[in-house]
Each structure stands twice: as structure tokens, then as C-alpha cells.
């Protein structure tokens, strides 16, 4: 029984620099990196030493407390460096890519004949498990739990997000194999949610063994958290697993070929990028080659992921494990004079969800927004603005306040189990008082995990 959901709340931030639907080839990167920091809460235990050779699919570290979860090398090469931060925390594991890469030669694994337990073991040992994330808490799934459902979103509604219809076009087989494997992991359903506003690619519409739902509305319609809330909400004690659509294809590829081939198509986007377009890359690829001679201005911020939830990286940094796009926006570290570009200015260059700037009159203009906070942090003053962009039956401001005050009882009562930081990204964007809401929610989730899970 498929569901159709219409959202009335939300916000599409109209940014310049959407990727053209063209794919360019990029050379094999010289270095790839797996960042343990991409997996929230992970304490890695290294399995390989610096200087040792690794092959694609070989575990390089594992979860210290959940040793069955392996994190594998995406390439053949040698372990170049383990970059550590404060308290010797491992930030990056860099691997020099060797010249010989072979992605052929494996044997297909028949999913249909396997039990759920076998699929789980296969995925764990093959390094596919980190692709599966769980709600609540929004971390890599706990393999000891059984989820009541698995959710896959067939589109990404974030600003400048890649078009999954384009990215996964023609990858029906891999995607279907991935869905079949996921279907074994749950007693419940696998939900595939399509964009109700646009026709979806056959990869999605012809998917078998899943419940196909439709959701239409502005961002965060494409967020899997929004979809879960409206289709099969999480109660305390329940688990739902989520997998990104491209990662479903990577999982499927493993079962079809017997090989870990972490290739995905990412979109290079943003107002400061010359000729934004799509490209096939490896997970954890070095972005230096991709970005070479691409910037249209000097003072820029490179983001792995989208502008709302992504991670700031250097121009020679590395693509995040879950990210499907790279965004480059202008850095906003200049003073802005009050009457021209500041708080009393006309504001023709400002995009706002409030009607305090004349730009709300133009419904289609696209903006070049920089990273300036556009104000200073204050206590909450304005009410009602978060609700406008938060399509949940949850009171966002009250929940954030509960998270700020470490109030576990109220967080539970107000629905902390249903949300992930990314669901609050728009709230953070519109907040007049510039509070880092995603951070507060993450802190709240950490507390919940520590005390209640």
C-alpha cells in the first residue's frame, strides 16, 4: 500500500550553480581517504599500519566497540598516513592509490537464496555495513538490532543536490540487487520514496519488492527523516535503517560482482565553480584534481556535501563517505557596511524566508550566498519561524530548547527519536538568532544514546 504525502512546509533555497547534466571524466585520484569522523561516534581500531599495502575491499579499521563492523579500503594501494588530531583521535586514513586497479574478476553472490543473517554477515565483512545508518541517533546501524523498516529516498531536495534520476539512470540492476539485499535485513518493508513533483527514472519506478511512496513539497521533502515521519514514524524503542540511493547501488554492485567497487557519481556545484557538472569518482577521493582551475573567485569555501549539512574541506581535501556532491560557495569573512550590505541595507542580494528583504517578491531569482552568519548569535527571540520550515508534527523550538538544557525527559516526549541533525538544517538556516541548531540536536542525541539506548 503506497502512500502519497503532500508537504506544505519547507523551503527551497535558490542557489546559483546547479550542475549541468553532463558527465566529465576525472583521472584516478593519487590519494583517497577514509575519515573516521564521517561516522559519528565511531572509535576506530586500526587494522593496518602505515606503509603496508592494502587491496580494495580489505578492512583498514574497525569499530572498537562493535568489532564486526569493518571499514574497508576503496582502492589498491599503500597506507600513506594516519592523520591524528587532539588526543590522538584519528581524523583521516590516507591511502596512496597504486597504478593497478582491477574492479573485475569477482563472482556474483545470489541474494535470493540467502537468509537475512547471511546477508548481514556478508555486508559486514565486505565493508558495506557503514552505508546503512539507523534512526534514531543517526549513526551507523547497530547490527544487533532488527529494523522495523528500511527507507531509501529516491531524490535529494537539498540546495543544488544531484539529480538521482540522472545519476542512477541505467543502473537498474545494481539498484535492484541492493534493494533485494536490504529487504533481507528487515521483517518489515523497504520503503522507496519518490519525488511527487517530477516523474522518476525507471530505476526507481520499476523497483521490485519495495513499497513505493510519493512525497511532494519543498525541501526537506527529500530528507529521509521527513519521509519516515510521514510514512512510518519511529516510536521509542523502534529502529529504522536508511541507506542513500547511490549507496544502495554500491551494495547491489557487490552482490552482482562479488567486488567492492565504491564508485559513485557526484555533482560539482556552487556559484563559485566554473562549469558545474557531474563526474564519476571513488568514495574518499581527493578533490584537488577535480577542483583544479575550476574556481571563479579566490576567497571560497569548499564543502563536501550540500550547503546545509556538508562538511567544510580544504581545496585539496577529500570527499566525505556519504556525500554525493561538492559545493563551492564564497567565503563571507568581510565586514558588511550597514547601509549597503548590512542589516539596514536594501538587501537585493539576500535570500530570506522572512519577508524582510525585497527578494521575497521574486519567485525564481537565484542567489549567490556566502558563508557570513549575517548577524550575531543571540538567545531565541523570534517564534514561529522554525515551524514554517519543519514539516514534522514536532515542536522544533521546544525540542531544541530541551536539547540545549540536556532535558532527557522532554527530549523523549517531544520526539527526539524521530529526528536527525539534518532534519533541522533548514531551521538552522532561517534562525534569526543564529543558533547552531544542528549542533544542539547532535549533542542532545549523543546524550540520549549515552543514557537511554
Amino acid at each position: 500500500m503506497s502512500k502519497t504525502v503532500k508537504l506544505r512546509k519547507g523551503l527551497d533555497i535558490r542557489l546559483l550553480g546547479a550542475a549541468n547534466k553532463v558527465k566529465t571524466d576525472v583521472p584516478m585520484p593519487k590519494v583517497v581517504t577514509i575519515k573516521p569522523t564521517d561516522f559519528h561516534g565511531l572509535v576506530p581500531k586500526m587494522l593496518v599500519k602505515e606503509g603496508e599495502t592494502v587491496t580494495a575491499g580489505q578492512p583498514i579499521f574497525q569499530d572498537k566497540y562493535e568489532e564486526v563492523i569493518k571499514y574497508v579500503s576503496p582502492v589498491n594501494g599503500t597506507l600513506k598516513a594516519i592523520v591524528r588530531g587532539a588526543k590522538r583521535r584519528i581524523l583521516e586514513v590516507q591511502i596512496d592509490v597504486s597504478d593497478s586497479q582491477s574492479f573485475d574478476g569477482g563472482t556474483a553472490i545470489d541474494v535470493a537464496g540467502m537468509s537475512g543473517e547471511q546477508v548481514k554477515e556478508t555486508m559486514l565483512s565486505a565493508g558495506l555495513w557503514p552505508f546503512v545508518k539507523q534512526r534514531p541517533i543517526d549513526v551507523v546501524a547497530d547490527p544487533k538490532q532488527t529494523p522495523k523498516a528500511i527507507f531509501v529516498s529516491a531524490f535529494d531536495s537539498a540546495p543544488l543536490a544531484p539529480d538521482f534520476d540522472f545519476v542512477l539512470h541505467g543502473k537498474n540492476k545494481e539498484f535492484q540487487a541492493g534493494l533485494d539485499a536490504l529487504g533481507k535485513l528487515t521483517d518489515g518493508k523497504v520503503h522507496l520514496t519518490l519525488n511527487g513533483k517530477a516523474p522518476a527514472d525507471a530505476t526507481f519506478t520499476e523497483a521490485k519488492g519495495v513499497q513505493i511512496n510519493k512525497i511532494s513539497g519543498k525541501h526537506p521533502a527529500g530528507n529521509v527523516g521527513t519521509q519516515i515521519h510521514h510514512i512510518d514514524p519511529i516510536n521509542k524503542g523502534e529502529f529504522v535503517w536508511v541507506v542513500n540511493a547511490q549507496d544502495v547501488a554500491i551494495i547491489g554492485r557487490y552482490f552482482l560482482s562479488g567486488k567492492f567497487i565504491p564508485k559513485k557519481t557526484i555533482a560539482l556545484t556552487g556559484s563559485e565553480v566554473k562549469d558545474p557538472q557531474y563526474m564519476d569518482v571513488l568514495i574518499g577521493t581527493n578533490v584537488a584534481d577535480i577542483l583544479k582551475d575550476r574556481f571563479t573567485s579566490d576567497n571560497v569555501r569548499v564543502i563536501s556535501g550540500n550547503v546545509l549539512t556538508g562538511e567544510k574541506i580544504e581545496a585539496d581535501g577529500f570527499l566525505g563517505f556519504y556525500d554525493n556532491q561538492i559545493t563551492v560557495v564564497p567565503e563571507g569573512n568581510q565586514l558588511k557596511f550597514v547601509l549597503t550590505k548590512g542589516w539596514l541595507g536594501p538587501g537585493f542580494d539576500k535570500f530570506s524566508n522572512s519577508r524582510l528583504f525585497p527578494t521575497f517578491l521574486s519567485g525564481s531569482k537565484k542567489f549567490r550566498l556566502d558563508t557570513n552568519l549575517n548577524g550575531e548569535e543571540r538567545a531565541f527571540v523570534v517564534t514561529g519561524e522554525l515551524e514554517k520550515v519543519f514539516p514534522f508534527d514536532i515542536l522544533p523550538m521546544q525540542l531544541v530548547k530541551a536539547a540545549i538544557t540536556d532535558d532527557i525527559d522532554n527530549m523523549e516526549a517531544l520526539g527526539i527519536y524521530e529526528v536527525a541533525p539534518e532534519d533541522f538544517a533548514l531551521c538552522e538556516y532561517v534562525c534569526t538568532t543564529k543558533i547552531n541548531i544542528q549542533d544542539k540536536i547532535r549533542t542532545g542525541l549523543d546524550l540520549i544514546q549515552e543514557e537511554c539506548m
Binding site: 516510536n235 550547503v307 569573512n333 558563508t371 517564534t383 521546544q398 532561517v430 534562525c431 544542528q438
Partner: protein, 409 residues
């Protein structure tokens, strides 16, 4: 503005940590952020942010108050002149230059005193806490003069402002933390501490107090007159009359049109319904003011007026419900006071209940309590205190919905 930027960059190190004027950094910061949106960038989470900030939000409220302020100035000047002429019946739109000048001489000093006193306190607290000035007082500082009677001494404005900022706001932690509306706290303080300067028949027109009263000249406001209806035996010009005659005598004195335009005595900013509605339009158009609160506040007041009409019995009960919305501080309270987001209810449903009850209570106090000719101030302060309770029940309803889902699942 490069030269200003150069100055800033040159002075910045002196105020930075370890600099010569480190202690004064909050003051420097306050002025810097007034002149420039600072160069703070996002660190984590959302890398781009909405263009709106608290300064722009607050300044919009000030813009919305300007029509009421300008009209209030003119009106204060008018009644000042009327006192000097010894007649309430001088034409309203004549002698405009004199009236504007006199009005400005009454209102501008009040604004200066209010901002001066309030900002001094704010800066002291900002320095103690080591943060830049927060924007909340920009609005409060303008609201305070607008809800004062024309004849209030300036020192009272200063005392009330200081009291309101310290007791109403800073002891709770500053902007965004207060329970009661700051401007109304200032007014309530004066109302109870210096009742003779805040109510009665002599305070609404500048200079009337000093004359010691003029024969045959009343300085009463519409509300003051209406409140006199509550006595057992109504008199108009010395004769005992029926309720109907009393109401029609009132309506002659204060026609709906006069109250609409605001050509009646009263607190500086409250008299002109039209000027306030221009402000309301600005607030609603920009989305700064809550339509839920404004509309439900008017609805509550109007319904209470209707109920009182139905009960009847004395002239004040019989006064048309629409009058209640136009006279006194009702409209001003609805648009600028009840909508204060910090002290109002914070949930969308809560806002409706909060506004409605505030409107009901305002008219209830106004008509039924002979001690207080105006109920709006007290009603809003009362509902400020009640707002968290309203929110509590709205939040519990949301929580219960989630619990129910768990049971059925």
C-alpha cells in the same frame, strides 16, 4: 566605506583580548556591529544563513511605530495648545506648525531620556557580562515614550525605564529571557508607584496640571469619561440621566471617527487607530508581528464587548463593542505589546489562545474594575505570566499525540 573599515581594523587590536582597552570590548563590538554586519562566518552545520538578523527584525518594529509616533507628537501638541487656549474645541488641523513644534518638545525629550537611561543600564550589564549590546531595548526604548501620558515628568520616565530594564529583563538574563513585556513593566511601575501622574483627568495634556484646572475644561480621556459611567447615578451636565442618554452623550464627545483618526487625548502613541493600523500592516506584511495574536486579541476584546452589551445594566456595559477596540490603548496593545515574541505564547495554537484571552481580560478589567480605567496593560502583563502555562498544554497535546501513536502501533 573603506575608510571606516580601515579605522575599524586599526582599532580592533586595542579592544581585542590582551589589548589596551580589552575591558571595553563589548562597547566597541556594539558600535562595530551597528555599523557593519560582522565578518563572522559559519563554522559547522548550515554553511549559509538567512539574511535576516535580530537587528533588522527590531528596526522593522521601530519603523512600524513611526506613524503612531508622528501622530502622537501632533496630538500632544494639539492638546498642549488646547490647554493654553482653555478650550477643548479648537480645530484639530489648524496651527499645524505650532502643534508639531510643541508636540516635538514634549515627545522628543521623552524618547531621549528613555533611550539614554535604558541604554546606560544595558551597557553596564553588557560590560559586566562581556557581550555586545543585545537589540531588545531598541524597541522597548521607543515603546516606553509612546505609552506615557503627555504630562509625565521626564525623571519618572528615566526611573521607570531603569526599573523595567533591570527588574523586567536583565535579572532574567537579558534579551530573549524576560517574562514580562519591558515597556509595560515600565508603565506598570509608574502606574502603581506614581498613580497621580499616570491616571486621572489632568495628566493627558501637557501643562494642565500646572494650571490647577480650568473651569469648564476637562482633561479626561475617553476611558476616563467612560469609567465615570460606573457610578450609580449618571449625570450629564448635572442632570441625572438614563443609560441611553449617557452613552449618546459619550458618543457625541468622542465620535467613532475622532477615535479612529486619534483626535482625542490619551497616551502619546495610543490614540490613532489608523496610525497604529499602518504599523500593524508593516508588521504583518514583513511577518515580524504575529497575525494570530493580533487577530485573536481583537476578536477577544470585541466578543467581550458584545457579551457586556448583552448583559447591559449600566452605560459602560451598553457602550458599543466597536468603541472598546478604538479607544484607549487597546489597538496599540494588540499590535505592539501583545505580539512581543519573547513574552507571548510561543506555539502557534498557544498564540491564538493567548491573544484571545488577553483581549477578553483587557475589556473585563476596563469595564468591571473601577480602580483601573484601562485594562490593556494589566491584561497583557497577566497573560505574559500565563503564556508558559498555555504553551505547556499545547506542548502536552503534541506529546500525547505521539504517546497515542505508540499505543496503537
Amino acid at each position: 566605506m573603506k575608510f571606516l573599515e580601515k579605522i575599524v581594523h586599526k582599532q580592533e587590536p586595542k579592544f581585542a583580548k590582551g589589548g589596551k582597552f580589552e575591558k571595553w570590548n563589548p562597547v566597541f563590538e556594539s558600535f562595530l556591529t551597528l555599523a557593519f554586519t560582522p565578518n563572522h562566518t559559519t563554522k559547522r552545520g548550515s554553511h549559509i544563513r538567512d539574511g535576516v538578523d535580530l537587528k533588522r527584525t527590531m528596526v522593522t518594529v521601530i519603523f512600524a511605530m513611526i506613524p503612531a509616533l508622528l501622530f502622537g507628537m501632533y496630538n500632544a501638541g494639539h492638546w498642549d495648545l488646547a490647554v493654553e487656549m482653555g478650550s477643548r474645541d479648537i480645530p484639530f488641523w489648524a496651527d499645524q506648525g505650532t502643534k508639531i513644534w510643541r508636540g516635538a518638545m514634549i515627545v522628543v525629550p521623552m524618547i531621549i531620556v528613555s533611550y539614554g537611561a535604558g541604554l546606560t543600564v544595558e551597557f553596564i550589564f553588557a560590560l559586566r557580562r562581556g557581550h555586545a549590546l543585545h537589540e531588545g531595548f531598541l524597541v522597548s526604548g521607543m515603546l516606553i515614550p509612546l505609552i506615557m501620558p503627555a504630562d509625565v515628568p521626564l525623571w519618572m520616565v528615566a526611573v521607570a525605564t531603569i526599573f523595567a530594564v533591570i527588574i523586567g529583563k536583565e535579572i532574567f538574563g537579558g534579551t530573549g529571557m524576560n517574562i514580562l513585556n519591558i515597556a509595560l513593566t515600565a508603565r506598570a511601575f509608574l502606574f502603581f508607584a506614581y498613580p497621580t501622574s499616570m491616571s486621572g483627568d489632568k495628566v493627558w495634556m501637557s501643562g494642565l496640571e500646572e494650571t490647577g484646572g480650568i473651569d469648564g475644561f476637562s482633561g479626561a480621556t475617553a476611558l476616563g469619561d467612560a469609567a465615570s459611567f460606573m457610578t450609580d447615578k449618571m449625570t450629564v451636565a448635572g442632570d441625572v440621566v438614563t443609560s441611553e442618554t449617557a452613552v449618546s452623550a459619550f458618543e457625541n464627545n468622542y465620535s467613532l471617527m475622532d477615535s479612529m483618526i486619534g483626535m482625542i487625548p490619551g497616551s502619546i502613541g495610543e490614540t490613532s487607530f489608523i496610525a497604529i493600523m499602518i504599523g500593524a500592516a508593516i508588521l504583518l506584511f514583513t511577518g515580524v508581528g504575529s497575525l494570530r495574536i493580533m487577530a485573536s486579541f481583537f476578536a477577544g476584546g470585541w466578543l467581550m464587548g458584545i457579551v457586556l452589551n448583552a448583559v447591559g445594566g449600566n452605560p459602560y456595559f451598553d457602550l458599543g463593542a466597536e468603541y472598546h477596540l478604538l479607544i484607549g490603548g487597546f489597538a496599540f496593545g494588540a499590535v505592539f505589546m501583545a505580539t512581543d515574541p519573547v513574552t507571548a505564547a510561543q506555539t502557534n495554537i498557544g498564540k491564538l489562545i493567548y491573544g484571545f484571552l488577553a483581549g477578553v481580560v483587557a475589556i473585563l478589567i476596563r469595564v468591571l474594575n473601577p480602580a483601573y480605567p484601562e485594562g490593556v496593560m494589566l491584561a497583557i502583563l497577566f497573560m505574559n505570566v500565563m503564556a508558559p502555562i498555555i504553551d505547556h498544554y499545547v506542548v502536552q497535546a503534541n506529546v500525547k499525540r505521539r504517546m497515542k501513536r505508540l499505543k496503537t502501533a
